[in-house]
Symmetry: C2
């Protein structure tokens, strides 16, 4: 019922709501009619603004913590603010430069790179950052290598085109001589580089069932090793950074809340579900309050985006913090860092050598 009314928000109402939200984001305290009037942007008296505020409350954009307190924006208000009331500033040149410098500096592999990204995100936002590393299956193979490490154990090293390195120890039914391991890894690298691990695995499984009996022992071994070495079961890794900066914020003065927050961070699987669930398209997505169980439980918001190489989205990255957030800064930051990370992953580790590899 309120929505119909809400659609009628006249420009002046919007201006007032905008001021209230902007003020609250900075002050963390309920905003009074008087303080809006005092800003003087609209030349209205406190009484008039009070009337508007009463309407805005009725329409679901504001709430009062108690009678005779100022008003606080609701999630609906934040949504409207983000969509049509704020001008998303460009990320300041200083911060862009800072990001570029850091991403370009040391990283030898992609895992370090996303670690740096996570740290940048929390440092520049003073909030908690969350970065989900790619699921192994989505990465594109560049090379495989097997190193014997014990009697029937082989270390399988998988290097992806994006620069991720994964290693896992697999048990082999029988002892496999070193030369054969080399042959197998050459075979796999040459034949499958350029495909995602998921594709490779599917193809191998199909081959196995189709040609079950005709395969020679070399191919059989290869398939066995590859099946184990490229298994996709593992949970994607999640990096959480910057929790201590959050503790300075007034909304976390209550220990119980802090505790629930940390418990949420411990449950990585839930984080991954939330992050990945909210990213389908390309841009930045914002979840506020009731939008998801995690954000509603803590009265937090999540600003998330994905990073990708080419068309393939690899993982997500985002910022998690109290709903009262400087969206004008945070959204461009997440957006920019998503792109910067995508760029760094595309440029830094893949490229020319991948083709060379296939030609060997």
């Amino acid at each position: 019922m309120e929505t119909r009314e809400a659609d009628r928000l006249v420009p002046r109402d919007r201006e007032i709501l905008r001021d209230i939200i902007a003020t609250y984001i900075l002050s963390a305290e309920p905003v009074s009619s008087r303080s809006v009037a005092k800003q003087g942007r609209l030349g209205l008296s406190a009484a008039t603004i009070r009337n508007v505020m009463a309407d805005l409350e009725e329409w679901g954009y504001l709430v009062q913590p108690h009678t005779s307190a100022g008003r606080v924006p609701t999630p609906a208000a934040y949504h409207m603010f983000i969509e049509s009331m704020m001008q998303a500033r460009k990320l300041p040149a200083r911060e862009r430069r800072y990001i570029e410098e850091n991403l370009a500096s040391t990283p030898a592999d992609a895992d370090q790179l996303i670690g740096i990204a996570s740290h940048l995100l929390s440092e520049l936002s003073q909030q908690v950052s969350i970065v989900v590393a790619p699921a192994l299956g989505d990465t594109v193979l560049k090379a495989v290598d097997f190193v014997p490490v014990a009697e029937r154990k082989v270390l399988c090293v998988v290097v992806s085109q994006e620069g991720f390195v994964d290693n896992r120890v697999i048990e082999t039914g029988e002892e496999i001589p070193r030369q054969e391991l080399t042959r197998i890894s050459n075979y796999l690298s040459e034949n499958f580089a350029g495909h995602t691990l998921r594709e490779i695995r599917d193809r191998l499984l199909r081959q196995m069932t189709e040609e079950r009996l005709q395969v020679d022992s070399f191919l059989a071994r290869t398939i066995d090793l590859a099946r184990e070495g490229l298994a996709l079961d593992s949970q994607p890794e999640v990096l959480v950074d910057g929790a201590s900066a959050l503790l300075a914020r007034p909304e976390l003065a209550d220990i119980q809340r802090v505790r629930r927050m940390f418990e949420a961070f411990t449950d990585k699987a839930r984080l991954v579900r939330m992050l990945n669930g909210c990213i389908q398209g390309g841009g930045v997505r914002v979840l506020i309050g009731d939008d998801s169980d995690l954000t509603s439980e803590l009265d937090f918001s999540l600003v998330a985006s994905s990073y990708r190489v080419g068309e393939q989205p690899l993982g997500t990255l985002g910022i998690f913090g109290p709903s009262r957030m400087e969206y004008q800064k945070i959204i461009p930051l997440v957006h920019y860092l998503g792109q910067a990370l995508s760029r760094a992953l595309s440029e830094g580790f893949a490229g020319a050598p991948a083709e060379r590899w296939e030609k060997r």
Copy 2:
């Protein structure tokens, strides 16, 4: 001046001090003379106990938060408690079994193993656990492998006898053909398996300077790659687990303290310094309050031990929490887990295949 007096602690004084500490550890509240008398273990009246408590305070074992509050043990009291007043219980069979099962279960490599150890430690103690992974230089080489990943980039995979796997990307001045890489890794694995990376690096450096001009190009390349691949510069990894359980404790009702705690955890280098600084000998070491800057800053204690393979200590593990700690449980736990982890590292990944490798 007090110490002389303290040496005179008669058995009854010790009994009373012991009761006070034990009570305080459980209750987290200042202990009154009356509550000690009520336990009735000594058949003394509260007044008598009061007299003793006044002495104990004078000698530096107790303090009062304010006049007319009960008394609280000082770090000196905890030290005495640990050294001669508590009977360290054996770790209950249930917990031993739990530890063994978990350590024996999944782990494919040593990094996972220490992750599990860290988790066990925090879970069983309900405190924060800290585990320092081995410095790379202290591990014993089992195999080296090089995988080309880009034009002049080679991924160097180092597998240690203990089961740790480390990989880093190194830039090579020139393109090195794949066969040569294989030769180099064979050469290194065959000649150096069984030595710590530090030894190997030193030996290579010596060789390089001694035979500077006589080395052929193969050896030169080998030395170059090994020098970079086995570089020891990296900070050891630190695992911190279980922070959220700590938040339930009454001593962390104050947010400021929580914040300082998290800031301390962020400064990994400082943690490493503290942990490693306190472990020289074999057993369990306990730092309380003023013993180190980190513990005194937070009024925390650290119970730490090392884990090792053979004689070589590899890393440290410990529990960090408010000084009021159930030392009777925590100390055996840390002790046992240090041994269990040492055992798991010795058995699980090294052993027979190491020798086989050298004979190739």
